[in-house]
């Protein structure tokens, strides 16, 4: 028997660090395991006995890249527990804030982490030496996302203006106007990004994923929607625990999520696009068509194009919200603590983020559960590797290792959120 192992100890260009071990026997990949070494995060435990109102600021600390996603899932779940629905301009402002995070996070991944894979560079620095103008375009685009978060969130990272029930302060209409000017330029940059990424060379592969995403009511999903899948799932966030389960695997300190009925599934840009493409803004829909995405994109390498389309959609949606914005009477609705359980799922840039909280009558948190997108995608990432890597086993070690890393980067895993720190270890024997 020929045994082949490939080992990558420090996985570069993913958010966080970790390791991957791929084992092949007689030319066929037997297993692919993402290992996560850092001790599990204790945020769920930190939250117990804290007030419901503290959850947005505590959970925002889980990730420096997608703090808004954590805040949004937390506030919606708390409002669900307290029996409150926040609508009108406050709902729009939340969508606007989330657009900022999508622009920022996706642009970072597209330009700094993912594009170098397709253009043959070791990383963004090497790419910048040859393509300074393109990298500058990416940085300017990302800045527009930062500007939204700085204005609405009070600062660029770990926004402090978000609260259960609304905001501490709502912006004036005139404050949003300079943002609109920046976003118009960003929208041009986003369209150029779609065209740029569409021109990359992609491996000709497809996967038979079960896509899972929120489906908004006629809008591309961010804060709200039912949880739907490409195989017929259609449930409210409150039913999540009936249909999904998390389990420990020996090689990782992050939990792996599965659909109880069918196993691995995929959340994130490919899933959102497959289940919501019709709700993209006209300009984003046209750009997707021009890029040749079709109604479903099942090639994970092409996820970079879908991210670019989502950035374009987020710029366009942000401009629509700013244009139609009417200042709310109050920055937040009143809330009364009560005992109860609240559920919410929102769409973090990397995929669906589920929160569930149980509250005591005085508003203190009795129990918290957080399922980040990377935990949900980890089984599918491992399956991608298992399926794709067999065809690559004859490549030289460096090339094979690079392909494996690229396969992981396709899904922009945020190991910081899922727990932490990864390395890569490919065993192909011989």
């Amino acid at each position: 028997m020929i045994v082949k192992t490939i080992k990558v100890d420090q996985l570069a260009r993913v958010e966080g660090e970790g390791a991957l071990k791929v084992v092949a026997r007689d030319g066929v990949v037997q297993s692919a395991e993402l290992s996560i070494f850092e001790p599990p995060r204790f945020f769920e435990a930190f939250l117990r006995d804290r007030m419901y109102s503290e959850a947005p600021d505590i959970t925002a600390r889980i990730c420096g890249i997608c703090p808004v996603a954590y805040q949004m899932s937390a506030i919606h779940a708390m409002e669900n527990a307290l029996g409150v629905v926040v609508d009108g301009p406050l709902r729009d402002l939340r969508r606007l804030l989330y657009c900022g995070e999508w622009i920022e996070s996706h642009t970072l991944h597209v330009y700094m982490l993912h594009a170098p894979d397709f253009l043959g560079y070791a990383g963004a620095i090497e790419m910048a030496r040859d393509h300074a103008d393109i990298v500058r375009r990416g940085l300017d685009l990302k800045k527009a996302g930062n500007a939204i978060i700085a204005l609405l969130g009070g600062r660029e990272i770990h926004p402090i203006n978000v609260r259960v029930g609304g905001f501490y302060r709502a912006p004036r209409r005139r404050e949003l106007q300079p943002l609109a000017e920046e976003l118009k330029r960003a929208r041009d940059g986003a369209l150029a990004t779609v065209r740029w990424t569409a021109g990359f060379d992609f491996p000709d592969v497809e996967r038979d994923y079960e896509f899972v995403a929120l489906r908004g009511d006629g809008e591309y999903p961010l804060n709200q929607g039912r949880i739907v899948s490409s195989r017929g799932l259609d449930i409210a966030a409150a039913e999540y625990d009936e249909h999904f389960e998390e389990s420990h695997v020996e090689h990782s300190t992050a939990l792996h999520a599965h659909l109880k009925a069918r196993g691995a599934y995929l959340t994130g840009p490919l899933a959102r696009y497959a289940l919501n493409a019709a709700s993209l803004s006209p300009i984003a829909r046209e750009a997707a068509r021009e890029a040749g995405l079709g109604s479903v994109c099942a090639n994970p390498f092409r996820s970079i194009i879908v991210r670019a389309v989502e950035v374009l959609n987020a710029c366009d949606e942000a401009l629509r919200i700013i244009d139609q914005y009417e200042e709310p009477d109050r920055p937040a609705v009143d809330l009364e603590p009560r005992a109860g359980v609240g559920f919410a799922a929102t769409e973090a840039p990397r995929g669906m983020l589920y929160h569930r909280y149980q509250l005591h009558a005085d508003g203190k948190i009795a129990d918290a559960r957080i399922v980040p997108p990377t935990s949900q995608n980890q089984p599918s990432i491992e399956e991608d590797l298992k399926i794709f890597a067999t065809a690559w086993l004859d490549l030289p070690d460096d090339a094979l290792r690079h392909r494996c890393e690229q396969t992981i980067r396709n899904h922009d895993p945020c190991i910081s959120c899922a727990t932490h720190f990864l390395r890569l270890d490919v065993d192909r024997g011989g």
């Binding site: 420090q10 001790p39 930190f46 600390r61 420096g64 700094m112 910048a128």
Partner: protein
């Protein structure tokens, strides 16, 4: 990409960029230096960041001189202070792998160099960390190094 924030300012624009996560043990070192330094220096922009590379890059853009403080892990004794002049040569990347994000300070500096926006004077002070757990306090050795670094930075910037 220019920030344009200080176009009216006379004389060179000097920034001190203090990097870290205040809730992850010794990773808070840079942020603690910022607080210590504010009592020692005026007329210098003291900026705190969590270390995401493109934000660091945006801060460097337009500065004439940048002094950067960050925690690092290199196997040295906790609390050890090192000074790197990165104006002309890169930061040793291995030592700055403590960032929870794959794209950190070393990458930000090299990206700035590739794009021609690295300040002509750029110095990094690194404090060797020991504990990076979530919710942990700074270790005593690192806490002791904070004031030393603030003092050295002041002397460095004032040319004394």
């Amino acid at each position: 990409m220019s920030t344009g924030a200080d176009s009216a300012r006379e004389g060179p624009r000097i920034i001190v960029l203090c990097i870290g996560n205040p809730q992850r043990g010794d990773d808070a070192a840079g942020r603690a230096v910022a607080r210590a330094l504010r009592a020692l220096l005026v007329d210098v922009e003291i900026i705190e960041e969590e270390g995401e590379a493109t934000r660091v890059l945006a801060r460097l853009d337009g500065a004439d001189a940048a002094y950067i403080v960050d925690a690092c892990v290199s196997g040295a004794t906790p609390g050890e202070i090192r000074r790197f002049d990165v104006s002309t040569s890169p930061l040793p990347r291995a030592a700055f792998g403590a960032s929870t994000h794959g794209f950190g300070l070393a990458e930000a500096l090299e990206l700035a160099r590739a794009l021609g926006v690295l300040p002509s004077r750029c110095v990094v002070y690194a404090i060797e960390g020991e504990i990076f757990d979530i919710g942990a306090s700074m270790s005593p050795a690192v806490a002791a190094a904070v004031d030393t670094v603030a003092g050295r930075l002041r002397a460095d910037i004032l040319g004394k």
